[in-house]
Symmetry: C2
DNA sequence: GCATCGTGTGAAACCGTTTGCCATAGACTG
DNA sequence: CAGTCTATGGCAAACGGTTTCACACGATGC
């Protein structure tokens, strides 16, 4: 048994008050001799201070929660790691909450974190956006309202909430300009001479998906190109794969841009398995810049995940009401080997003779 | 403010005892009328029961901790997701603890979890193994001893600890036979006719690395082959990449087997970028079967991560002292497209003419 | 008509800390 | 030498719940 402070105090022949003061960094003075006796007694019984009791009385739980879609998704994992790194150094615990983007689960977790009096909660992902009137189910709307209300309640209790993407509730924000990021990657691809470029979206109704799609459309419009080849996706590998399979039967597009890296990798892998030369025949680009993207040499744009997680955690810990300014971190275009200048369509036909190394020579 | 139970009770005109009984699932009877009054009052003040106070008195924190190397590593992410899924359904919180495999950090986190009276802690990764006497620094030895001691102390307090890989302390185990898994993948590769096969290890001193290396060596010996081309690695992409670069200058081996998927992908990607045909010229295999491995069609062996995490969490929640049996989950060989039968060395020279599709035809 | 019950409620102890307030005792100050 | 400090230490009241024990009361069993 870890032994209570009372037991330590008894063994050291002092009061619990003194034991408490000796064991934690209290400003109240304790003589060296007694301090030592207490330390000894504590070691003897293997004393482990109850963080729970401490939290109850100090009203500081030293807990932060990170609400993510799925921790296996590198996007969320990197955010979580950023948050955990600063939390750990401050002696805080980091709770990971997988929701699979279900608002009901987000709500349940938010309430649970409220119950635990977490000092802060980070919403890592984007939220459901009120789709055109009527298109969202009543249940969805109600869920959105409930979540907003819950967030308000939580914040009223002094819990700091920060979101890392667009959300329809009030909170601190440490975001990135998704629309601009998407605009930039699209412009880049267009600048390589591609004219027919497809797009694979993120989950419908998600604010992040919407912003990225809008960026794509704006860039295409500015390039004087048509943006009508938009395929629905879900931010996952499978989505990219399915789109690629649909693409492969007919004349190939010049490029395909995906709403995130995971689906871009799905497109990339599947297209290559089908014998398509990338970037020789078609260029592929994503958005996020996860670790895997570096592995597969994917052209993408970096929207610093780790940093956002870390900064968000710092905002929570630094109690100072610097809560004010919404922080928008810069994104950065990362051209890599899955995009290349458009070839004449004549050379496209020759793909069967293309040596394997063509896939990487553009590096 | 969330309002306390006392406030709710006052508003409902009842005692806190009754309010408590009405709000949680107590077996003690409460009349429907009063129950309703209390529910109403709770809703009015936005009552959020303090899980901290509850934990203090019930001595159940409803918290479990997962100690991992790095949550961004898919291996650990999948384990964590498994644990979190069962924890969430039980209303438990899951704490993620990144240690980068540093024993000191593991120790610090274990103590912190002890302080929080976590109901269980899962050690997801393997541990430092006592390297041949004298080869480990005194500090390391002391760290190992300290950790064992801390685990003992924690367990004495009724905290359930389960490890998912070999550890040098007493605990429940939900493992996989790493040595056998490595033996199997190696045998498989040999069965394809490869004779010169290299190996990329995991971090030195890690029990998991040792077991996997041993499996490789045993299988090679049983196949009558030499197992002397062993390159040190660190379970990461970079390790694989570096080995691949070193390999590429000289005569290529028939196959390279890596201690885990991440480094195998490093080898795979780098070799391909260097113009090597995989699996035409060299076969590449890993061990783990992470999500990414499916993406890149890597031959590997599945050592169920998600399941181990889930089962471990279940062991923690099911208070029954079924603590006994060490559970060893079956692994499963997953042949995919990065391995193929060995070609005659003559045909190897023809790689420049190999069409791109060769990389996937073995599927 | 009386002991026995089941049902519904409240009082109070307890969980393990922190901390405000008070007590004691030398050390100093004038 | 009285009056103030300063350094130490203890008492007891929170913190916000749960749970044991006692108790009240109408119904039931004989």
């Amino acid at each position: 048994m870890a032994g209570s402070l009372a037991e330590v105090a008894r063994r050291a022949g002092v009061s619990v008050a003194t034991a408490s003061r000796a064991l934690n960094g209290s400003r109240h003075p304790v003589s060296d001799e007694i301090r030592e006796r207490i330390a000894l007694a504590a070691a003897e019984v293997g004393y482990a201070p109850s963080a729970i009791a401490q939290a109850l009385v100090t009203r500081k739980s030293r807990i932060i929660g990170v609400i993510v879609g799925d921790i296996v998704d590198p996007y969320f994992a990197e955010i979580t790691r950023g948050a955990e790194d600063v939390a750990r150094r401050a002696g805080y615990l980091t709770i990971v909450c997988n929701t699979d983007r279900a608002p009901a689960t987000e709500l349940a977790y938010l309430r649970l974190l409220h119950d635990y009096r977490a000092e802060g909660v980070i919403f890592a992902g984007g939220g459901q956006v009120a789709a055109g009137a009527g298109s969202a189910s009543a249940a969805q709307l109600s869920e959105g309202a409930q979540l907003s209300e819950a967030v308000e309640s939580v914040r009223a209790d002094g819990i700091r909430v920060v979101s890392l993407a667009a959300r329809n509730f009030e909170s601190m924000r440490v975001t990135v300009d998704d629309r601009a990021a998407s605009y930039d990657i699209t412009s880049y691809v267009c600048s390589l001479g591609h004219r027919r470029v497809c797009y694979v979206t993120g989950p419908p109704g998600l604010s992040t998906s919407a912003a990225r799609l809008a960026g794509f459309q704006a860039a295409m419009a500015d390039a004087g190109l048509s943006a009508d080849e938009v395929h629905p996706g879900e931010f996952d590998f499978l989505s990219g794969q399915q789109v690629a399979l649909r693409l492969v039967g007919r004349p190939l597009p010049d490029a395909v841009i995906c709403a995130n890296d995971e689906s871009a990798i799905g497109v990339l892998t599947t297209l290559r398995q089908a014998g398509v030369d990338i970037p020789g025949e078609v260029s592929v680009a994503g958005l996020d810049d996860t670790r895997v993207s570096r592995f597969v040499d994917l052209t993408t744009v970096s929207v610093p995940m780790y940093e956002r997680g870390a900064i968000a955690a710092r905002h929570i810990l630094d109690a100072g009401p610097s809560a004010a300014g919404d922080l928008v971190l810069p994104h950065r275009l990362v051209p890599r080997g899955t995009t290349a200048r458009r070839r004449s369509s004549g050379s496209k036909r020759q793909r069967r003779e293309t040596p394997l190394t063509a896939a990487t020579e553009a590096r």
